[in-house]
């Protein structure tokens, strides 16, 4: 009997996963063409980044001028090096693929941090209200008063060679346990992730707060109060799940923005430090070898553009899907 119940519970978990997947497929089907294409582009880039060693025979730091052919310095594209090589004889394509790792990791982790801070702060501010709301939002107002990049380079500059991990060891350990990222803990990239996360948290906090306020006004929340449910449960079970769609859509855009942001920081030399390959640093290094070695700067730029564009178009498609206002377009009568 007991086994039976457990079995049925397992079944229901499978059902739930199944219904989630069906729902995702349904969402995908409703997206417009550009968003669907974008979805596959983002997927392809993610897979390439994750499976980088399988995609390219070289290591990102491998200097082909030393290991293979001395001529492979600033060499134009060939079938073996489809995007040419750089000054040190490294394969640009290889560095591009490994660069995708840092771009995506920075984008996702930074937005993860921003979402954690922003959703917590925003939902507390929106739901508790009063002076708690006032003080949280004033702090956010202050943070948002600094243009993001200005704040970021200042913070990165102020941190200097120290990484956030020396200040926040717990989070550092958490990061160190992640694949790929784990080996970066001593690199500036950790600072970049944290700074971008901090800088974008007010935006998520504002959206979350607005949505929580809107949802709190809904009758079903009042109905939940009327059943005697506790305030915390009402927030977690009724309000937040119904407030998250715009936050998720915004997060998609923020991942795109964060990738651009990281590229700018790295281009300025304030972001990710060698030896981790990133697109921004590649552009910055190659800039001095224009116009002759155009491939060194052109391909990383295109890579940034395609990735960011795909994420933006996907976000736009998701917004059309989840924006309640466009969903209630008046039909007949």
């Amino acid at each position: 009997m007991a086994i039976d119940t457990k079995h049925s519970e397992n079944r229901s978990v499978v059902d739930q996963v199944g219904s989630r997947v069906r729902w995702l497929v349904a969402v995908y089907r409703r997206l417009d063409l550009s968003a669907q294409v974008s979805f596959w582009i983002v997927a392809a880039i993610s897979v390439a980044a994750a499976a980088a060693p399988l995609i390219t025979p070289y290591a990102p730091g491998e200097q082909l001028a030393i290991t293979a052919d001395p001529a492979l310095k600033l060499h134009p594209p060939t079938p073996a090096n489809p995007m040419g090589t750089d000054l040190y004889g490294r394969d640009v394509f290889t560095r591009l693929v490994y660069g995708a790792r840092s771009s995506l990791a920075v984008g996702l982790l930074a937005v993860g941090i921003a979402a954690t801070i922003g959703i917590t702060a925003g939902s507390i501010a929106g739901y508790v209200g009063g002076w708690v709301d006032e003080s949280i939002m004033r702090v956010m107002d202050i943070l948002i008063s600094f243009p993001a990049l200005v704040l970021a380079i200042t913070l990165v500059g102020a941190l200097g060679s120290e990484t956030v991990i020396t200040i926040l060891p717990v989070l550092g350990e958490l990061l160190a346990s992640l694949p790929v990222v784990g080996s970066w803990t001593s690199n500036n990239i950790i600072n970049v992730i944290f700074v971008i996360g901090l800088v974008y948290s007010p935006q998520i906090a504002r959206v979350t707060r607005g949505e929580v306020l809107r949802t709190s006004e809904e009758e079903f929340v009042e109905a939940a109060e009327n059943t005697g449910l506790s305030r915390v449960r009402i927030l977690v079970q009724h309000i937040l799940p119904n407030s998250m769609a715009p936050v998720l859509v915004q997060s998609t855009f923020l991942v795109a923005t964060a990738i651009l942001f990281e590229a700018s920081l790295s281009y300025l030399g304030l972001g990710v430090q060698p030896p981790i390959p990133t697109w921004g640093v590649m552009i910055s290094n190659g800039q001095g070898y224009l116009p002759d070695s155009w491939w060194w700067t052109t391909f990383p730029g295109l890579a940034i553009m395609v990735t960011v564009l795909a994420l933006n178009l996907l976000g736009d498609g998701l917004r059309d899907e989840f924006d309640p206002r466009s969903a209630t377009d008046g039909g007949p009568n």
Partner: protein, 455 residues
């Protein structure tokens, strides 16, 4: 019948958004919205009490404050002898299983992410009804069937249902904790008429079957008449009249109730009704009128001693006075307008124009043109002359001296009619006011409500 829910002097005031900066400025007062003001009512066991009134009259606020979905400012509420207003958090939670609310908008009152089963089982879980989820699910299924839907609907989401079906689910949710009382807040106003009838029938059956008491809130007099045993009429946060349903509809005592009843469009073209025309809009509960809150719109507002004009003329004089006091009349704008129209812009012309606009109401499609008794005519015109001369305060004082209504002076209290179950709050039923007005105006007494009074 003993009373199940007793509301005693309940008051709910909302402060307009208050802020430090607003306080820093001396010219800005924090305005208070007096949504519900000192209301007493009781719902008896097994009874359906209707609460009617126009939007903004405070009926929903009253109901929510009574069950502490919002915290009342003042007053007390008793449920089955216990003081709800004194409940602790845990007592309040227990109380939630006794009184349940059915909300207005079935499209908003169900969590769109919950399945029907989850919606129905959550309250049971909170109140420990049913031993486990299997049992609760069974109960949910039978509740759903009771409300006219099937167990096969349990795993669906709200968006798969029509408005009427959703309202059934909302009712099933309310019943899931086995309450002894329902508060139905406009439960059918978002639905089409054919669906309305079915939901009302369902509520009726359930009430009878389960012996529920009900507070039924509605703006629709026709529905109230069909559903309720007793009806309370609210106006601007106050109870104007309470009576058994048939008494209220056949023999309304308060001028507001009379107007309200006469305003409902009757679905019968052969009925030619004498409509009581109510002037103006429903005022906001911020700064409600002094005295009887209905007096600025009241078609039977008591005239000053010695008034020998018509009731309509009296109302115009009062309205003029009010607008003057609120600084709504501006002689210069009127003069500019006359200039635009290429008419005379002399002071006399401006006075005449203001007089025509506010007293005679010439050229207004749906208002009759009235004339004032000679002495009133003179006073009003000289008051307007003062306004044109720039002395608004003087103009107001002048009218104030000669023309005030006792209705604006003090608040009426509830007086009883007939057998004691019928109460209304109108000065016309107050013996001291009635003698005062009857003595100089016979027409009023006939026109007045006094005729229906048991005397």
């Amino acid at each position: 019948m003993s009373s199940l829910l007793t509301i005693d002097g309940l008051t709910k005031h909302f402060s307009e958004k208050d802020s430090l900066i607003r306080r820093l400025r001396p010219d800005q007062e924090v305005r208070t919205v007096r949504a519900v003001d000192d209301v007493s009512l009781d719902v008896k066991e097994g009874e359906t009490l209707g609460l009617v009134g126009e939007s903004g009259c405070g009926k929903s606020t009253l109901a929510r404050a009574a069950v502490r979905l919002i915290e009342p400012t003042d007053g007390s509420v008793y449920f089955d002898g216990d003081e709800v207003t004194g409940f602790s958090r845990s007592e309040l939670r227990e109380f939630r299983s006794e009184v349940q609310v059915v909300f207005q908008d079935p499209f908003a009152s169900l969590n769109p992410r919950y399945t029907v089963a989850k919606t129905l089982m959550e309250p049971m879980r909170v109140h420990n009804i049913g031993a486990n989820d299997t049992e609760r699910r069974e109960r949910a299924a039978s509740l759903l069937e009771r409300c006219g839907l099937g167990a096969e609907h349990l795993d669906r989401h709200p968006h798969e249902f029509s408005g009427g079906q959703r309202q059934r689910i909302a009712i099933a949710r309310a019943l899931s904790v086995e309450p002894s009382m329902l508060i139905a807040d406009e439960p059918v106003s978002a639905l089409d008429v054919s669906v309305q009838a079915r939901i009302l029938n369902l509520l009726d059956e359930l009430r009878e079957e389960m012996g529920l008491s009900m507070l039924f809130i509605s703006h629709d007099m026709s529905i109230v008449r069909r559903v309720c045993d007793r009806v309370a009429v609210m106006y601007l946060g106050k109870i104007a009249e309470v009576a058994p349903t048939d008494r209220l509809f056949t023999d309304p005592q308060h001028p507001y109730t009379q107007a309200l009843l006469s305003a409902i469009p009757v679905p019968d073209p052969t009925v030619e009704r004498d409509r009581v025309h109510l002037e103006g809009d429903v005022p906001t509960p911020i700064d409600p009128p002094s005295g009887c809150r209905f007096h600025p719109r009241c078609p039977k507002v008591i005239p000053t001693e010695g008034w020998d004009g018509s009731q309509a003329a009296w109302q115009r004089v009062l309205a003029l006075k009010r607008r003057l006091a609120a600084d709504e009349l501006d002689a210069e704008t009127t003069r500019e307008h006359l200039e635009d129209e290429r008419k005379s812009v002399s002071d006399d012309a401006v006075v005449q124009e203001l007089y025509d606009e506010h007293v005679a109401r010439k050229g207004v499609a749906d208002a009759e043109t009235v004339s004032l008794p000679p002495d009133a005519n003179d006073t009003v015109k000289s008051a307007l002359q003062r306004l044109v001369a720039g002395d608004r305060d003087g103009a107001v004082a002048m009218l104030e001296r000669s023309y005030t209504t006792p209705c604006a002076r003090e608040e009426p209290s509830l007086t009883t009619h007939g057998a004691g179950t019928h109460q209304s709050a109108c000065h016309l039923h107050d013996p001291s006011f009635v003698t005062q007005s009857k003595s100089q105006n016979g027409e009023l007494a006939v026109d007045g409500i006094a005729s229906g009074d048991a005397r």
